[in-house]
Amino acid sequence: MFSYTVRRLGSLIPVLLGMAFIVFMMIRAIPGNPAQVILGQQATKEAVAAMTKELGLDKPWFIQFWDYLSGLLKGDLGVSLKTNSPVSEEIGPYLMATIELALIAMIIAVVIGVNAGIISAWFQNSWFDYVAMVIALIGLSMPIFWLGLMEQYIISIQWDLLPTTGRDNIRDPVAAITGLYLMDTLIAGRVDQFFEVIKHLILPGIALATIPMAIIARMTRSSMLEVMRSDFIRTARAKGMRMFWVVYKHSFKNALIPVVTVIGLQTGLLLGGAILTENIFGWPGIGTYIYDAILSRDYPVIQSGILVIAFLFVMINLVVDLLYAAIDPRIKYK
């Protein structure tokens, strides 16, 4: 298992290199000179030329790519064209904000999605099954920005239950230490602020959880149905075992592999795909960071931002693969 992990980590290098190259080439295919975009429509031709030169964008692409790569090897993610700050310094707070939100969203999605899937499979073709699967279908096709605005309008404004936007109470802000506000508030010993942060997490968490929740519910249901039809479950039931245990222990454990795979994939997707949720809920996350960079053709930020997400994505998949062995002893890593 240890050597497997090391090998997987080793194979990360070509994957990330390939990613870096593809992203590098793709963003250069977008029309629009970054210098022009940064300086705006009313900039003079000289200013645009000077900026292009200063940014090194007049050099051939392979020299630019080589500069970028050699920087990467030294741990340098480049300097943002727009703000002139190192990406490695800038990216942290955005990444932490997204990780906190994605974690909460995944907790919501897994707890509700898995249980809805199990119960639907247990009572297959019951009203619960139908309702749950119809809701899952709606969840899959729900436009996130619409859902987010509706949540704000109904839950925060009409019912006055939760705040509409932000990560904390802006009038009494949290001091950022780790960037994970749930931890920061506890470090500062502010329990009231901790609950404030949780309140701010619920609405965007639900909005972001909707699609993975639906996918997880459907995957759990079909995986469970398959297992529950197998011989060993029939045996367990024939022996008079209580249905609850049959379902939640024996069946679920065996149905878990595809569910964990889906959870892993969805978690990775959440990291980069939270742009709409972040925009609506004033959440300063990495999705918005990269999206803004694309609009302003901020090459280093786009490149490194996507690279960081790709890295996390691969790491999550590694964790998922390692979990397989823990779930199913038949799987061994050599």
């Binding site: 920005f145 936007t165 972040e278 300063p284």
Partner: protein, 538 residues
Amino acid sequence: MKKTLALLLTTILALSLALAGCSSSTSKEKDDDKGGSNEAKGGVLIYGKGGDAVSLDPAIVTDGESFIVTQQVFETLVKYGEDNTEIKPGLAESWKVSDDAKTYTFKLKTGIKFHDGSDFNAEAVVKNFQRWAQSKDEAKFAYYASMFGGFEGDEGHVIKEVKAIDDNTVEFTLNRPQAPFLKNIAMPTFAIASPTGFEKDADNFGKNPSGTGPFKFKSWKPGDTIEVVKNDDYWQDGLPKLDGITFKVIKDNSARLNAVIKGEVDLMDGLNPSDISKVTGDDKLQIFERPSMNVGYFAFNVEKAPFDKKEVRQAISHLINKKEIIDNFYEGTAEPAKNPMPPSVSGYNDNIEDYDYDVEKAKELLKKAGLEDGFKMDLWAMPVPRPYMPDGQKVAEAIQASLKQVGIEANIVSYEWAAYLEKVQAGEAQSFMLGWTGDNGDADNFLYTLLDKDNIGSNNYARYANEEVHKLLIEAQSTADEAKRNELYGKAQEIIHEEAPWVPLVHSLPQLAGTKTIKGFVPHPTGSQSLVNVSIEN
């Protein structure tokens, strides 16, 4: 001498430390009584905006999201009027212009300090201008280069020398007269920053700005919030009224409004016209309308037939129903335009009478031009929404329908935005829609930039050339006397109106929403303003 200096510095240091201690303790007090009443204090205003600042160094930024913050921290030598672009004293209390309009002598206010404790004086002003002029860094100080014709040593450079006469007197010598000079140095980008600040660490000055403004920079959470707090040593007594301002980024316009409705945000810019009814229907909220400094227009390429005939251009001017366009596509948030520049800019000629919507008059004029049966034409429509034009395609369709009444068949043409601009600039379009947002609130920035023969191939997309207009505009450029300039611009507008190279369509009005408790907020046409007079009343 050295000893006194050391003593002085120590005192300043001790004072600033004590002050820092004070301010942090007040903020703690506020934490404790949050939710309670705070009538004795001004309170903290939460300002919702659509994007984060790029940098807080005003000299290197060009975007409104940065300026709305820097304008609280920094001040300029002269400033614009509260809701117009007339020039008022700022850090300079008075100024004199020499007869040849080449020397400007400013008397500075005394006793002002930068937030880092250093003195504001003539030397500081000189150092700021040197920082820009001597940098020769077109990429960094782009606005300086474009407003003052390049950098020190360049042929077109306007500013020859900036000299400190004494501690409180600064003299600017120009290479040639530049009439909008005062309006230029009133732009928020030319605010005076603390030389101690930008000399010590130029790269990080944008993250740790220090000016003379009513608010001091406190913190910046990237992509999230920027906090500024009251400058207790501010030179105007009793100001600012607020204890601080927190700028909160919420990208989505509707979500930002939701935060205002919920009371999490006090004031927001970028209200969707379609959301106006939500604000007016809520008795806790109010709408603020920003005076317009833009123009959206429909123009003819006067070099292409049949638009080389004045009668045809006038005929079409009579055919466009501006009121209907505003009602249908701007939800009423625009005013009809009759001149190529908005009324908020000084020099606006209000005596001009717009071409009324009159189909019969149009028919007569077409008959005069020998085109009573109509003709076919291309109408270029903008592919993207702009502040002055929310939906180019729809407006083009409305114009198309109007033209049909007299037998003119307009074929709507469109390209991707960058290509559209390029082709219009190259003179390929027969008629087209476009617009302009002012840079410095000067008539020159509209009339000369957009309609002088010098700018054909640049921003004069209509390719309109008129000797008389040219003479007036050039004369106005080299006159420093505001009244005289306004007269010249008034005349130029008369000729342009008569010649009708454009159909000025609208001046759109950006909308802001805030709680009713906000007092003293006056939105400025330039797009952002100091909040020094704003207060929150319970």
